[in-house]
């Protein structure tokens, strides 16, 4: 018998929605800039893509700062605290479940509860994205808007070139994260139940 519990407070849902919309714009315009050429605009005209990307990047920085404050001053922050001890074992357990146990009808080794929002794999990837990839994306993105602060040369390459490549690689990581995030979200009680949760705030559980 499953019951529902209130899992995502309003500010988390609002932030998540803002984050999602801005990230989508950033990814689409980012791809558009990366793969366009003067004769082929891909998705958006190059200069328009630059403007949209810059505006969304600045807004995402603001939204991220609010998220950091939220994590600092509410209980949401505890979900992002990694317990290193036994982490490898827990990751293996969760990985094995996704690859094998899930199909055999085994119980989820780390079922979602009000105390545990993320399973170990999710926790590691969320911490990686929120506390490493995004801050580095902000630093490199802002640096490209203030290029005089970028090292002129590093390992024989132009500093701007390397900063840009680092920004692109991190962008790819976020895209990969997004796809996995979306896919894993379909593995709830029903394929759509997790999507409903992040909109209504109520999570179904055993």
């Amino acid at each position: 018998m499953s019951k529902s519990f209130y899992h995502y407070p309003a500010w988390v849902r609002l932030w998540h929605l803002t984050n999602a919309v801005l990230c989508l714009f950033l990814i689409v315009t980012g791809f558009s800039m990366l793969y366009s050429d003067p004769d082929n605009a891909l998705v958006v005209k190059f200069q328009r893509a630059v403007s949209i990307h810059n505006v969304c990047g600045v807004l995402l920085t603001i939204s991220y700062t609010l998220f950091l404050f939220g994590n600092l001053f509410t209980s949401n922050g505890k979900h992002y605290l990694l317990n290193i001890k036994g982490l490898g074992k827990r990751l293996w357990k969760q990985g094995r479940y996704y690859a094998y146990g899930y199909f055999k009808g085994e119980e989820s080794p780390f079922p979602v509860s009000s105390e545990r929002k993320f399973n170990p794999l999710q926790q590691v990837s969320y911490v990686g994205v929120m506390y490493f990839a995004l801050p580095m994306l902000f630093i490199t993105g802002w640096a490209l808007m203030f290029p005089e602060f970028i090292l002129k040369k590093f390992l024989g390459f132009s500093g701007i070139f390397l900063t840009d490549q680092f920004h692109v690689i991190l962008g790819f990581l976020v895209v990969i994260f997004l796809f996995i995030h979306l896919y894993v979200s379909t593995m709830g009680k029903t394929p759509l139940s997790n999507f409903r949760s992040i909109i209504t705030g109520w999570q179904e559980s055993h």
Binding site: V50, M145, G159, K189, E204
Partner: protein, 336 residues
């Protein structure tokens, strides 16, 4: 040998000065006598002490003992055209701020004539007010340049940038073609003149144009590119690189400039980004309308391809997992 080298250099310097004086004469008519509405606090002192003679092509020499006067022609290298001086960045200075007080006495003593000239770095170096211009780095670059090393430092800052008339070209010309032409004029004053170059070296020196005939579309290159873009070691932390390299080290490869990862591209990007921000502010100049981005400027085909590949693999993995979910039909799972 050393003496003859010294004389050759001295002759070159005198010749360079005479060339600059001709250039000054050309500009003289087009420039105002004062800098805007302001008048230098030292204008009267300068006039009384120095410009009464050095500010005129023909000056009057007076023998106070005998009470005789005589008109003389001022040599070009000692001439300072007041109109151009008061239009330069150093307009507010007194002559004696930089020149020895002993010059107040006429005839000038030999000690005064031996005064050491100030260089740019002597006033502008290590001063937080001028930090943004990077004078220290410019001086370090200049000391590595062929202008310094091949002439024992006799080709000083002043041979290209006369302190009496100095105005930053980039700010004076608003960039563009005029900036490039004026920048190149500085080099061509000597380097387009076989006679001047012949005085520097015994080698058979070719002047600029014949040496650049190998360039495709040579005229467009010379109109659109500064000499220093190819003849200095590029450094994107100073706006104008000063490490002039020997001719055989100049950039010759097309891809050195026309490529995605060129230092030139980095310099241009920084310059364009800053200009855009200074002119239009952060919101309009950086976020909304930032023309410093160039399609493909920093593109790495390898990384762009690898990114797509990994994303493709992720999607393929999700697809395989989905197929398994459909085929195996796992029991009712509660799982995030």
């Amino acid at each position: 040998m050393i003496l003859s080298r010294y004389f050759v250099c001295l002759t070159v310097i005198l010749f360079v000065f005479s060339q600059q004086a001709t250039a000054r004469a050309n500009y003289q008519d087009s420039l105002p006598v004062t800098r805007g509405a302001e008048l230098s606090l030292y204008a009267e002192d300068n006039e009384t002490n120095c410009l009464v003679c050095h500010g005129k092509l023909i000056y009057t020499l007076t023998d106070t003992v005998m009470g005789m006067t005589r008109k003389q022609l001022m040599s070009e290298q000692n001439l300072v055209i007041p109109g151009m001086f008061y239009n330069s960045v150093h307009w507010s200075f007194s002559c004696l701020d930089c020149h020895s007080e002993e010059f107040k006495i006429f005839p000038h003593s030999i000690e005064a004539r031996f005064e050491t000239s100030w260089g740019c770095i002597d006033c502008h170096g290590y001063d937080p007010n001028y930090e943004q211009y990077g004078f220290e780095e410019i001086d370090a670059e200049y000391q590595k340049s062929v202008h310094y090393t091949a002439t024992d430092g006799l080709i000083t800052c002043w041979k290209c940038h006369d302190p009496h008339y100095y105005n930053p070209l980039a700010r004076q010309t608003r960039g563009g073609r005029e900036y490039i032409i004026r920048s190149n004029e500085m080099c061509l004053r000597c380097h387009s003149n076989a006679e001047v170059m012949g005085l520097i070296t015994d080698e058979n020196v070719e002047i600029v144009l014949p040496k650049h005939e190998w360039l495709p579309d040579v005229d467009r290159h010379l109109e659109a590119v500064r000499c220093i873009d190819c003849h200095t070691r590029m450094n994107d932390s100073v706006l104008v690189a000063h490490e002039v390299m020997p001719a055989d080290s100049a950039v010759r490869g097309c891809t050195d400039c026309h490529s995605q990862n060129s230092i030139l591209m980095g310099t241009l990007y920084k310059y364009a980004a800053r200009e855009s921000r200074d002119e239009k502010g952060f919101v309009n100049g950086v976020m909304l309308r930032n023309d410093s981005y160039v399609i493909g400027a920093n593109r790495s085909k390898l990384i762009s391809f690898a990114g797509l590949l990994i994303i493709g693999m992720t999607l393929a993995f999700a697809l395989v997992h989905t197929i398994f979910r459909i085929v195996v039909k796992p029991k009712d799972q509660v799982h995030e």
